[in-house]
Assembly symmetry: C2
DNA sequence: CGAGCACTTGATCGCTTTCAATAGCTGTGG
DNA sequence: CCACAGCTATTGAAAGCGATCAAGTGCTCG
């Protein structure tokens, strides 16, 4: 599995060098605020497949993904599972004012967080309007993403679901920015077919079949099972049944600074 | 098309008499803050079926539902529609910092909002940490609701979806608190079968069939098409495939003050 | 009393799931 | 180095659930 082999968490490094410095909740902190955060923060890394928190558990910390990918998912009593969120670098985990976590949080790849004790963070939050504003902004973005996904889960066909996921992955990867050197758009999936199925509300078999079908139709090609090449991105977008609305406007022209795809 | 016909509102009433006074974003405002809000707020009412805002449109105001029910929904190019949220009294509509609305907002019943000009509200927000905190809290609740609904849309059967909706409606109605006088639990649905279908990612036919089936199995009874009687609430809950997690803990014992079911 | 709408019910179709087998890849130990 | 275990992924065949197409019922309001 593509393990992002991690060099030790440099807790002693400075916030100013942080890879998510300008996108995380701390993005608009003043330098004195940053200094304080710097004192109370802590890096921690989970290996791919490790569970970071179980639904219902009490989590004493909150924080941001620095590197890696983590998933949020819910499970029904009989084991049916649905992914309800994906945490990427700069995304925030945890709810101020509530320790109990609502979903299983699992590291999909090796994942490093920048963590704070929840009570310490809450104290900081109440003193710092800038971080509160960023957190609200992020939460609203998450809400928009969740609702966009509701449309996908409730109304899209299997084919459209896969296409939508690929579009999202491509945009988020920022692959669209590297100019296409004639050999199309190439980007990695990071996650297993099972995780894709959990995300899309499908079975692995259906995911696999639809990917094969899109390959047959030459909408995509597989470099290896987890690396996609797209000859014509617009054709992929067409197959994703993009909504008639305008809610895509904010990430239609993806930018490295885009919040969430 | 349905143009927002506005009946006059009693803008002259005082915030202190407001029915959502203790649950809306203004819940923890100081009395001087309330006075200011009182000056800049405005009531406005839409009739059932009227569209409050179209996806993509620019909305110059934000505000809270005072009475009534409004729906948020997304539409695909070919007309497939998915409801992505339900606005009930005390729920907030609008996104500070962004005028463009992401979904169609439609009054399901006659609905009255307490509105603010967006720029005025934003100015107020940046001065008032208490209202900012309430808004963050509400947004986090909305996010939890949306994710719970993702599980329903992605993994539950038609029967389970209907049962889940009924459980939610019953809890939200607060019907559970009125003691059961032996004649079971009775509560209104407010919405049409079509709205139910849009919410659950089903067709009207399937909704209708499942309701009939549950009637046959004596899980529910219909007083009229939009009033449900439940002889044994636990049996209904069982059929809703409540998740194994604990994310229900916060509304498991429904309270009149519960944020969102 | 009839038009329009919400809802119900029936028959059939087809997409996705389920069940089952196979292929491919990776790492481990003889 | 190869054999084999354990995964992940693919493919096939069959079944089932919800969608679609099509009437028909019942209620409300003019």
């Amino acid at each position: 599995m593509l393990v992002a082999r991690i060099t030790l968490a440099k807790t002693d490094a400075n916030c100013l060098d942080c890879p998510i410095r300008h996108r995380a909740v701390c993005a608009s902190c003043t330098s004195s605020e940053l200094e304080e955060l710097n004192r109370i923060r802590q890096y921690r890394t989970w290996k791919a497949g490790e569970t970071i928190a179980w639904a219902g558990e009490n989590m004493s910390f909150v924080g941001s993904v620095v590197t890696g990918v983590a998933t949020l998912s819910s499970t029904l009593v009989d084991g049916r599972r649905q992914m309800v969120g994906l945490l990427l670098p700069s995304d925030f985990l945890g709810r101020p004012g509530r320790g109990e976590v609502s979903y299983d949080v699992v590291a999909a790849t090796e994942t490093t967080f920048c963590l704070f004790q929840r009570d310490q963070f809450e104290r900081f939050l109440s003193k710092s309007p800038s971080i509160a504003k960023e957190l609200l902004e992020k939460t609203l973005d998450d809400l928009d993403s969740a609702r966009e996904w509701m449309l996908l889960l409730g109304r899209k066909t299997a084919r459209e679901k896969i296409a939508s996921l690929l579009v999202m992955m491509a945009r988020r990867d920022g692959a669209l920015h590297r100019n296409e050197p004639g050999d199309g758009l190439v980007f990695p999936l990071h996650i297993t077919r099972e995780a894709m199925a959990d995300y899309l509300g499908l079975t692995v078999e259906t995911v696999s079949r639809q990917i094969s079908a899109m390959k047959r139709d030459n909408v995509i090609q597989l470099m290896d099972t987890r690396t996609i090449r797209v000859p014509d991105f617009n054709r992929l977008v067409e197959q994703s049944a993009a909504s008639s609305g305008f809610e895509d406007a904010h990430h239609a022209l993806p930018e490295t600074t885009a919040k969430r795809a």
